[in-house]
């Protein structure tokens, strides 16, 4: 049966571990196995990965063994990063949230709520087309006013802005209950 051999065990350990694993460490973890057998399993694995047409190699680095991709693959791996889709930092998320819930809103209002300069984030969100400029506010300085775009709705799979859950709805899920000790009376309408 597959997966039971020492080689398979060592392989899986190497696979999930972020840092290189030394023979010492492996021997410690796999106490029921002989150190020599573990060493042999490692050597066999190195040969297995090297010999065949593989995208991964088992290399000896920093006093241990580590599975790594082949350097030839670097170009392709780089593409993985490029196509990651929309990325969100915490600050982007905060800004987006403020605009979603407070629109129409000006930059000054956003910054008032966030307490930090938000120009960079705004620009970024505009570039990602998640925001749109709704116009200018009729106050001194005529600041731009922002709202969310159609793409925003698509990102969150929302039919329209009214389908945005409210803060209250989330808080209602698990409110700190001051009346925890008082069970509802059985007379109440069955609303559960």
């Amino acid at each position: 049966m597959a997966g039971k051999s020492l080689k398979a065990i060592v392989e899986s350990l190497l696979f999930v571990h972020e840092q290189p694993l030394s023979l010492d460490r492996l021997a410690l973890i796999l106490e029921e196995f002989e150190r020599a057998d573990i060493r042999q399993a490692l050597e066999e694995l190195v040969a297995d990965y090297e010999g065949s047409e593989r995208g991964i190699v088992l290399v000896q680095v920093a006093g241990g063994y580590q599975l790594r991709t082949r350097p030839e693959q670097a170009d392709y791996l780089r593409r993985l990063n490029k196509t990651k889709g929309v990325k969100f930092s915490q600050s982007a998320l905060e800004t987006l949230a403020i605009i979603a819930y407070r629109q129409p809103v000006t930059r000054a209002e956003i910054e008032y709520l966030r307490g930090v300069d938000s120009g960079g984030v705004l620009k970024n969100l505009l570039e990602k087309k998640l925001l749109k400029i709704l116009g200018k506010k009729d106050v001194p300085g005529k600041p731009l006013i922002y709202g969310t775009s159609k793409e925003f709705l698509e990102l969150f799979d929302l039919k329209d802005l009214s389908s945005l859950p409210t803060l209250k709805e989330i808080q209602e899920l698990a409110p700190p209950d001051p009346f925890a000790d008082q069970p509802a009376l059985p007379l109440a309408a069955e609303e559960t």
């Binding site: 972020e18 910054e111 960079g120 799979d157």
Partner: protein, 271 residues
Amino acid sequence: MQDTLFTEAMENAYQVQIEQFEGPLDLLLHLIKKNEVDIYNIPIAAITRQYLEYMELLKELNLDIAGEFLVMAATLLQIKSRMLLPVERDDEEAEVEDPRAELVRRLLEYQRYREAGSDLVARDLLGRDVFARKFASSELAEMAPEEEPADVELFELIEAFRKVLSRVSVDSFHNVGADGISIADRISEVLSLLHEKRTLRFDDLFHDGMNRDLLVVTFLSMLELCKLKLIRIVQVESLGAIWLTATSEEGAVPENADIESDFEGEASVGG
């Protein structure tokens, strides 16, 4: 003394048992199983009696009874009384439903999902039975993008909003400055600090001992200074430290502060 000990032991014993029940449906299923009765033909009187005894026990032990248990007790009593009524023979074609039918459906459905839940947890769970490489590979780290990648969910959006609101307590702005320092005073304090150090950590302006008013005044001073374009507030990375810099000092301003030109209309933050 003996008595108290005994009661406590009893209570603990029951508590263990009580915690097993997720709710009234769970309790009812337990009673049905214990009595080995047919779920399609529940002896409603007997089960109701046992159910109420259990409620009684909870009450004696002074344990909280969740509202749902009481609602179910009422439902059971209602079914029981309907079972006692003679079935009206008037309209033959509309078959009278067994008063228990609705409850039986709920119990069966509940049982079905409970089983489905245990089937789920018996699968090969990621992180328990099987493992994947849940870390950024070093191969990618070298070419990682600046921003954190994230599949963003609606819930996260609301959480972000909640966090913002919890930081800025709106009503705290209404009772500012009854006594203590004024915004103007605080502005000059911040400015003179900035004059000495060129850059300041946001956190450095807030000490543990500060009262609420001073916190608010400090915060408002910073906003005012921003408005007057005397300082810049920047955060280099998300969740990273927030820095204040005097705008006259050019050097120390991190890159992402170059937005003014993109927002001419916003340049004079005002209102």
